[in-house]
């Protein structure tokens, strides 16, 4: 069965990935916030510094979203979900 034949509701829910590496504050927060506003419920935000990590975590907390951290090589992935 080709992927196009899979019905929408049968697909495993995959996270939208935001690559915010190399961006300075507040861009990682802005991109994350816009994705949430656009209706994203499952996000992986990739950042490469502590300031971005802390700020994206704050946004998640403020919006009462679940968030956890995962190391991916030298980078940090913030997993956000409703």
């Amino acid at each position: 069965m080709s992927p196009s034949a899979v019905k929408e509701e049968e697909r495993p829910m995959s996270a939208i990935r935001i690559d915010a590496r190399g961006l300075s504050c507040p861009q990682p927060v802005v991109l994350t916030n816009r994705a949430i506003e656009a209706g994203a419920t499952n996000l992986d935000v990739l950042v490469d510094n502590e300031v971005s990590k802390e700020n994206v975590l704050r946004l998640a907390k403020r919006r009462r979203l679940w968030a956890s951290l995962r190391q991916e090589g030298p980078d940090i992935v913030i997993e956000i979900a409703t």
Binding site: S24, C25, P26, Q27, V29, V30, N33, E50, V51, E54, N55, V56, L57, R58, L59, K61, R62
Partner: protein
Amino acid sequence: MRPDPNLIAGIEGFEDAGVYRLRDDLAIILTLDFFTPVVDDPYLFGQIAAANALSDVYAMGGRPVTAMNIICFPPKKLPMEVLNRILQGGLDKMHEADVTLVGGHSVEDDEPKYGLSVTGVIHPGRVLRNRGCRVGDRLVLTKALGTGIVSTALKGEEADPALADRAVRAMITLNRKAAELMTQMPEIHACTDVTGFGLLGHACEMIEGSDAGLKIQASAVPYFDGVRELVESGYVPGGLYRNKDFRMPLIDVRPSCPEWLLEILFDPQTSGGLLVALPAGDAETLVKNMREAGIADAAVVGEVVAEPRGKILVV
């Protein structure tokens, strides 16, 4: 460093500007400050950069007299009108300060930068240093905090227009009137201006390694309405985290001061207010005089205490 008996304030310590004695009754104050745009509007940026540079002279208790422009600009990337608007903003602030522009220097650069080299005058016996506060003094702050947080939100186009306007108005406000009212008081023991290290960072410079400590009443510190929400939503400048990491060893925070408020006390300010230490009996008078003169946010924010020595208690 070559010793010079006429050097009153030099590169040692954390003074806001250099001070050099020319005669027994006259010293010059020298300072230089420039940075990248904190707002999009070039005219406002010029005003902010000039007000910020002039502030160092006011913080020493002096009167700025002349200034020179320092400008970096990408003429191939941005229209020359932008350059003209930056310079006009600076010039208008110099005029407001009764300061004469005497020259300057420009450099082609990828990112615009603007500021001033300012020369001021003062009586050598009336120089106000960062150090010198005495136990029992009160601390007066003359502008609300939050310009760094608001600038960060502005970069993300997430700042409420009313909040942005409030912060810009604070940044373009000269510390001239505040300084004039301060120097009319019978006794001032120490003064600095609150800039990149935030209120607590500059407060640390007043007492680090000294026999006195400070007690800051966090709830009395003025800040812009709306910055709490920005801090909690992640619009926090990197400099705020660095200020906090650097100075927390000198800070004792009581539970009465919530985390978001502590962070506002570390927010790096552009063209921030004066932080003045003076006898308790005069502090309320100074605040009253300032408020009557339109410096609406002036407030007593803390006091100089014997303990904790060389540290800051935030309550």
